[in-house]
Symmetry: none
Subunit: 214 residues, 4 copies
Amino acid sequence: MPNPSEHPKWRRRSKERPAEIVSAAYAVFAEKGFSAAKLDDIAQRAGVSKGALYLYFGNKQDIFEAVVHDAIAPNIGAIETMALQHPGPFADLVRLIIPSIAQIAATSSLGKVIKMVVGESGNFPELARIWHDELIARALGILTGLIERAQTRGEVKPGDPRNYAVSLISPMLIAVLFRETFEPVGGTGFDIPALARQHIETVLPGLLVESDGR
Amino acid sequence: MPNPSEHPKWRRRSKERPAEIVSAAYAVFAEKGFSAAKLDDIAQRAGVSKGALYLYFGNKQDIFEAVVHDAIAPNIGAIETMALQHPGPFADLVRLIIPSIAQIAATSSLGKVIKMVVGESGNFPELARIWHDELIARALGILTGLIERAQTRGEVKPGDPRNYAVSLISPMLIAVLFRETFEPVGGTGFDIPALARQHIETVLPGLLVESDGR
Amino acid sequence: MPNPSEHPKWRRRSKERPAEIVSAAYAVFAEKGFSAAKLDDIAQRAGVSKGALYLYFGNKQDIFEAVVHDAIAPNIGAIETMALQHPGPFADLVRLIIPSIAQIAATSSLGKVIKMVVGESGNFPELARIWHDELIARALGILTGLIERAQTRGEVKPGDPRNYAVSLISPMLIAVLFRETFEPVGGTGFDIPALARQHIETVLPGLLVESDGR
Amino acid sequence: MPNPSEHPKWRRRSKERPAEIVSAAYAVFAEKGFSAAKLDDIAQRAGVSKGALYLYFGNKQDIFEAVVHDAIAPNIGAIETMALQHPGPFADLVRLIIPSIAQIAATSSLGKVIKMVVGESGNFPELARIWHDELIARALGILTGLIERAQTRGEVKPGDPRNYAVSLISPMLIAVLFRETFEPVGGTGFDIPALARQHIETVLPGLLVESDGR
DNA sequence: AATGAATGAGCATTCATTCAT
DNA sequence: CATGAATGAATGCTCATTCAT
């Protein structure tokens, strides 16, 4: 017969705790930025005491790094495999991959994390480095490689492939940054998937070598 | 014997003081972000005492707002007049205006301010509002209006003009954000004017109604 | 199949546990001092969990008291019996007992405990009291009594016997304190037994009544 | 006409403040030891806010070092000059210098500082080093040099001069440590000047080469 | 008996803001 | 106007102690 007066001060959940903390920290960091985020708030949101944070993380920055790192993994893998394994012509691949990125940008929390990294990069370069090396450089590299190979095959016009890559993906990144930064203060948002579709068709004509007209 | 009622060391330039403070604050905020910026540093850089800051500004946030506000004016005016008064065809105007924006982006400290606004938007929505209303929305509006009128004239294809505007300017914004955020940690930067030139020629074919091939 | 009601990993040596804890605590307190000693370290060194400490001791101070108390017993007994049962002349006894004390001082960890008691006496007067009553006062009393009796027998010159006692033993105490405090930072240590031998022969001529020149 | 309702929150006393803080810190450190001393207490005792401490000292240890350092200067100079400039025979010098040291020991706060240094030497070796290099080693060196020269002159018996020095001064040091540590818990103190006088006359016969009987 | 996850009060340090001078 | 000494609330981090398991 269980004791009905059960109100244990805490419950032992060693396995779930780190994820819970990262999740809570993510919310607080996203809202406040790194410096303004209080460990008190993170702890409260995670439903633990401040001291408990230090059972799982060495310090505030470690928590921040865990948040940033956790936000990278789910996103990069999908794009990478999609990009590298598609056999068809370049235009088809772009029409597949850019909307996927747009989808991730539109629905995931990527925007909040980008905002955090951008805002705190001056004070925490290590963080910017992780984010750059593990996501930005890789994503840009994949896209650049795709374009280079398409140029080799004669599908894409000559020109700096890295700049072409930026031409392709920037609007989606700007759109998520806009959403996180200016929508809360009344800015009119963007329909990111629609933006992506229109952007692709705007850019492709200038990118592709004219053959049969696409 | 000098007149004792003279205090030449004081009152020296009390007119310029606020501007000097804003300038110093701009540098410190740009380097550290809002929370990590110390009034001590700002005061020292401005060559005044910490207490003097409070003669001209109510508090730290007021200084921040002044910085952000002051960073807007010099940039928007030029573009606005340039955009509204140019008579020629749309493509020419784009080839004039986008490189101008690229030039501003590449040489001014716009990137630092964008980084600040993005990073602190959660804590200072009012700031994001000012920045949005006075710069972002206006710049986007100018560009959107340009495109709309070009569509009316039959120069530009149908399609959401605001999305077209984003397609046009995003790469330059991303490039400055990249420069501020990732170059310090080893990321390879962009040649922003070259990026702009290539981007324009990549986008224009998909934007313009095919007529004489312009 | 082993009997499931056996838990050999537990209950192993519950009799020795307190002594093991005191021993571990002794090492940590000696190295760090009371405040800086962490129960985590003590527990780890004792091979038990932090919680287990509280099965045997009420709190940190209790452990400290046990350490100090346990460090007294092994040292005082030997001296006491040696001193009280020796029949010969005073000089012989001094030449026997002081080197013994020197030996204890040189080889045991008495110095570490003295350092601890001295350093924490302000915060834990009760500790200083125990240490004083059970060791210092007794040892000093034994020596003083010896001298008094030697004075009565006409072997030792008139004079305050307690001061004579201090004259006799101080150098050895100072030498161990020096060793614990200043040798780690480059101070040149003392050869304590040699110091004791020289000290005895330096002091005895001024202590003994001149008779046959002993 | 001065405002009679004068209750300024604080007064500007930049010059006196550091000394006031060191004085307050001295009292608190002496009572509690380094770790257990709270900056709150020091600040309150100094009549300033906690933040004001950081206007004059970088951190807690800096304050501690200032206390220790300030306790050294007034004591070493007097002894040094006295020792080095006295022309007479060794015995006279000892009868002059040891009581001086005893006087300093008996009346100054040397004991409290020794207690602090001994107690915290494990955690703050730098402190022990300062104290050793600036006071202990110098004082011991002066005394040792005195004895060496007296040996050269044939006034003092052969034997390790540094050990002789320890034989000479240890009782006074032990007496002040005893006073700080055990008198507060009921230990019977020593009349330090009397102890010094008796100790000198006890030691000198064994130290001096027999000539005219002293 | 034993564990170790969790707590929460405590503390050193920082820094925006105030105010006597 | 200008200063800068002084404040005090805020915050990251520690660690003795507790308690569900």
